[in-house]
Symmetry: C3
Subunit: 339 residues, 3 copies
């Protein structure tokens, strides 16, 4: 096992789940999801408790799914509502596992592990995705790599130079000092660039001339997310690493839910507090991220294969990897606690 | 091992085997088959005893196959007739395993297991496929599932409602009482519907108005076949479950020969004792079965995958599964005897 | 392990390796190769020592490769020249394994095993590929079989009759006596045909009428090559098996480098000492070999699969297999010495 149990995982975008049955494997468990008539999301093991045909092949009846094989009618609690022989007594011991679900910050989260421990208060705080005055959108990609390779990638800002040579890579970024610190289970990698000229994208967002302070702050949020706080504010505002809301600000949102030990679901997007009604900005940011993340995925999938075919070689940790290395240590510790 | 050894298995339809070498894997053993000049069928391991090239790639010479690699000439008894160096003494110790073959009831049967035990009297009695006054035809499908999932499917008549919603499914069938009994190694699941209106297909076959008795009787015939006795007879004839030849009668023939532990060869067809010279009826029955069985196969292949990805869940047995459950118990017992 | 370590293996044709990074797996080890500015060939493990991305995806800079992930600059000695943060001290302990390389006889050879033992004097002597007065050309094929099946194939001249029925197969060849002898680690299979009419190809090469002596001499050159000495000379020259340079002579060159335990790189060609400036002869020989070897590959790949699916059957050794059997014994002995 390479992932932490007893945690909330992003299973889908809110818009991916509708009335129809939707199947996705989370942490090795095939899960079927759909919205009840009242709108809340159901998640259960995607297998009829009778003969294991995927329930996602079934027929929706009210808030239930009827299995396409023998017609067992399964309720949103995983228990049968009607047996194949309709007049037979319902046997509730024949039921499929269900998953606690919370819909928050535009994502559908499911609890993987002991369902008795599911506590909605433990859903990671992706506040920029749902706060008043902010706007958030993004996309989904399936990636054939261990989710931890993705965390390594996102907790390091230097790879932009080569992976994203044709897009956002800038040699200048390599020169700014980075600071990594661990705060309990959170790892923070930060870069503060005081008193500089704003790059074109940010100048346009700020709508103001003059020198700015600029920041890039990567937060590893266990078990498998990275939120990157980015933005600029006018020098004269005196913003700091701890508090910087005087200018324009965004969050790159990345959650890499394990599918298997060597594949992941990548949920990504951008939240921002400027031009929030401008759908063109939203669309361009999404298109840009999509292009950039495709570049990362090419690298990560090749890296995954290379690790497998070079079993005698180990991943090495350089200074630039401290963000990823600290994050992996948190994951290791949480997996041990769970075991 | 999930199949019974020391048994006859259907390896092919009679029409599939001609003069040319035909290769099929039965119970994990690659077998090459062809007809001798006299017409009888040869079955041997599909590997040259010299360097193991498939003999099915070879060249037919008389009743022998010459290997396409070094030219070893192998006779229908698996022994060499000529060495690669033609004047060298034939070494009969270099031979390929052969299989006992019986051609009966339109099928080519091979004996899997200890060849010394092969007894033609033990070929399952598919009498409707070859009896005077009956006609029989059908087809072949390759299915990626354990043959036992197929037996579960065929020893249950209730799944028709959902799997075959668009074709033969009828809610009414679910209401008729079913009886399961085991008679030695045979399992019989029967449904007797007395004094009813004949459905259109059967009325047309019977060519007679009036109330009928109708039956559906599934026979599990070990190790891997199901014969389903179906038909109607006029009420006034007084037919019974034990004896019902006063009307029209058919047998759905199903033999699911294991290829591997997770794939099967499905030989299916319909034998009947009415309109036996009407090739149009034969063709329509075959086309109809082909459509219906394709619906089953979609379900069975998805079920096989789902079983693999939900290792923590077990197949559960409901009342409707008693036919399959009894059949599996017979298979378990026979596998133990064999071991 | 099915191959001998501490040996030189053909990794590529000279023409396959240029300035760009070229990746090929040799004996299970992914290797990146390229030519330095001075022209000599570099070979190292195809994995960045930092995070294992294939170096073959990298960017050439001078004689170095810069990894496309974080920009680690790796020199031809496998050691870093520059860290991702360019001003950081280079840590030479973070390095990728390198391979000794010799370019000889038109091939690029790499040493697999303990690099300290690499000795250029141990490169197999493919002298006809590089000697004055000879010309050599050929091609490459990827083959999904154990390299030893290929050696069996080449150390036997009788399979031509059936495998190459449509091309070079001749029943007459089967009749000539063969002699196998082992000379240390070399196995020699020879056929001397004295005082015969030259076949058309050789008569044209010899440019002379009259009876000839003809020879076919297969040399197994450990660990994985076969050189086949072929030709004719006028009877009156009195050539012998030991010395036969009075007529025209060629060498079929075959080197089967293991990729994995069940796949190989096949480097093949023809060296000759006649018509050496006639590019048309060279092209026709290459085209002819390409057709013939494709016939062998079809057989060998089917044989590999058949061996896997018939685990209860063993490869048997007939008189015609003595060349291959002796060669396999040499390989077995060398693997034991190495272990």
């Amino acid at each position: 096992m390479t992932f932490v149990r007893n945690r909330w995982y992003v299973a889908a975008w809110d818009g991916e789940i509708g009335a129809g049955a939707f199947s996705r494997t989370i942490c090795g468990e095939p899960i079927v999801m759909y919205r009840k008539l009242a709108g809340d999301v159901v998640a259960m093991r995607d297998a009829c408790p009778h003969r294991l045909l995927p329930l996602s092949m079934g027929i929706r009846e009210g808030d239930n799914l009827r299995c396409r094989y023998h017609g067992l009618l399964v309720g949103p609690d995983g228990k049968p509502r009607q047996m194949p022989i309709v007049h037979e007594r319902v046997n509730e011991k024949i039921c499929t596992p269900t998953y606690a679900v919370v819909e928050r910050h535009r994502f559908v989260w499911v609890w993987i592990g002991d369902q008795a421990k599911a506590n909605p208060d433990l859903v990671p705080d992706f506040w920029p995705c749902s706060r008043e005055g902010w706007v958030f959108d993004g996309g989904y990609m399936h990636v054939k790599c261990d989710y931890r390779l993705f965390i390594d990638n996102l907790m390091d800002l230097t790879h932009e130079t080569y992976v994203h040579m044709g897009s956002i890579g800038q040699q200048e970024l390599m020169e700014a000092p980075l600071e990594t610190r661990t705060d309990g289970d959170r790892v923070v990698l930060s870069r503060w660039m005081p008193d500089i000229d704003a790059p074109p994208f940010w100048r346009q967002a700020l709508k103001k001339e003059g020198k700015v302070d600029r920041w890039q702050i990567c937060h590893f949020v266990e078990p498998c997310s990275v939120l990157i706080d980015v933005g600029v504010s006018p020098v004269e505002a005196g913003d700091t690493l701890a508090s910087h809301d005087s200018g324009v600000r965004g969050f790159v949102i990345d959650s890499m839910t394990p599918e298997t030990e060597t594949s992941s679901h990548y949920f990504w997007g951008m939240a921002r507090n400027f031009d929030i009604l401008d759908a063109g900005v939203t669309a361009r940011l999404k298109a840009g991220q999509s292009r950039i993340f495709a570049e990362d995925i090419e690298i990560l999938e090749r890296q995954q294969v290379s690790i497998a075919v070079n079993p005698d070689m180990a991943l090495r940790v350089l200074s630039i990897d401290s963000g990823g290395a600290h994050s992996r240590r948190v994951i290791e510790r949480l997996m041990k606690q769970d075991a």
